[in-house]
């Protein structure tokens, strides 16, 4: 993916043409969503004896899943908006809302990240 990002930056969606690298971002968010779901599955298969609300990894995973699923369509359409000069503010409100929620969830993840809530080395 890193190599593809480099190739994309210079040849497919050159950075000097001010094109948003959607060819990289779309598979990235798909991968993030997949890994997030896999981690949820792993958590279900091997639960630890700690309240899930107090587990930092739960909040971090939820943030990643939330961000990757909600921004997928945005990344798909962003270059379309740019090419057709669609300047609908609702898109930006939506993005702002997603960012707020993402940072909120990441903040909860950091706050719940205490050594006392670790169990079984997780």
């Amino acid at each position: 993916m890193a190599l593809f990002a480099v190739v994309n930056a210079f040849y497919l969606q050159p950075y000097y043409n001010k094109i948003f690298p959607s060819y990289v971002m779309i598979p990235t968010v798909v991968l993030l969503a997949s890994f997030s779901l896999l981690l949820f599955k792993q958590m279900l298969l091997y639960p630890v004896q700690v309240n899930i609300i107090k587990q930092s990894v739960f909040w971090y995973n939820t943030a990643i899943l939330f961000f990757s699923t909600t921004m997928f369509l945005n990344f798909c359409l962003i270059n379309y908006y740019s090419e057709h000069n669609i300047n609908n503010p609702i898109v930006f409100y939506f993005w702002s809302f997603i960012e707020i929620v993402l940072n909120l969830l990441l903040g909860i993840s950091i706050l719940t990240d205490k050594k006392s809530t670790y169990a079984n080395g997780v």
């Binding site: 949820f40 958590m43 279900l44 639960p47 630890v48 004896q49 899930i52 609300i53 939820t62 899943l65 939330f66 699923t69 909600t70 609908n88 609702i90 939506f94």
Partner: protein
């Protein structure tokens, strides 16, 4: 414009539905996780309980092996040596004057008494002896042995017709009785110890009561309370329940209830508790 608003409206609706779906999925995951945690915890507790049972069973077996060994040593070695001492004293006594002969005779009597006491002790430690005689008779013999010492008065009462509970269960009950008696002698300063063995068709009740100083069960530390916990665990091991009731100044009462028809944890087979023999 209406088209734009309707587009925006559709987008907002779809987004709202998507968020609701996402939130619902996360909540569902949390519920599922909690259920898994509970299930795991139950399984872990079950495994721990099984492990404790196995450990207790092993401890019981090791203890019985040790006691059997001690019993044999007492019977085979110590009493034999004392018998020889008695014979030697008899030989010496024939060659002395009356005063010394009387002293030798007295010593022979003491040695004979010691041999008898050691044989009785050996029998009380021996698994085979206990299981061959049965619980009731073994307890009666033990009560008689303790009464001879004069340290404490032991009364044994049996109600109902005696039936066999199986060698293993009777052995465990006897060991609990020995432990309770030992505690009464060592710690309570009791002068009287009552044993009540009640045989009912569907329930066996063993009641052990002393009139000693008593104790507060909550104030026992891990070391002094371990004997009492051991009694409770042993009772559970054979499918029974043990309740210990005591308070300072009011002696101690131990009640063991056992359903003779209930399946026990210890396999009741073979003459020796050692499963590896």
């Amino acid at each position: 414009m209406p088209t734009v608003y309707s587009d925006i409206g559709t987008a907002v609706l779809l987004t709202g539905v998507f968020f609701a779906f996402l939130t619902g999925s996360v909540i569902y995951f949390v519920v599922l996780y909690r259920n898994r945690q509970l299930k795991n915890k139950q399984e872990q507790e079950k495994l721990e309980a099984e492990f404790r049972q196995e450990l207790l069973q092993s401890q019981v077996e090791m203890q019985e092996q040790t006691l059997e060994h001690i019993s044999k040593e007492i019977h085979d070695n110590i009493t034999q040596v004392l018998s020889f001492v008695k014979l030697s004293l008899g030989t010496i006594g024939n060659t002395l004057d009356d005063v010394k002969k009387a002293k030798i005779y007295e010593s022979r009597e003491l040695v004979a008494q010691t041999i008898t006491d050691l044989r009785d002790l050996s029998k009380s430690l021996s698994f085979e002896h206990i299981t061959s005689l049965g619980l009731s008779e073994t307890m009666q013999m033990e009560a008689d042995r303790i009464n001879k010492s004069g340290v404490i008065e032991v009364t044994f009462t049996q109600e109902g017709a005696a039936y066999s509970l199986g060698g293993q269960r009777e052995l465990v009950l006897f060991r609990i009785f020995q432990e309770a008696l030992n505690n009464a002698l060592k710690h309570s300063g009791a002068k009287h110890f009552k044993i009540l063995l009640q045989y009912h068709p569907d329930l066996l009740n063993l009641s052990l009561e002393d009139n000693g100083s008593g104790f507060s069960p909550k104030k026992l530390d891990s070391k002094t309370g371990s004997g009492l916990r051991n009694m409770e665990n042993r009772a559970v091991l054979i499918g029974g329940t043990a309740s210990i009731d005591s308070s300072p100044g009011n002696g101690c009462r131990i009640q063991i209830n056992l359903n003779p028809l209930k399946q026990q944890f210890i396999n009741d087979g073979g003459p020796h508790p050692n499963r590896f023999s």
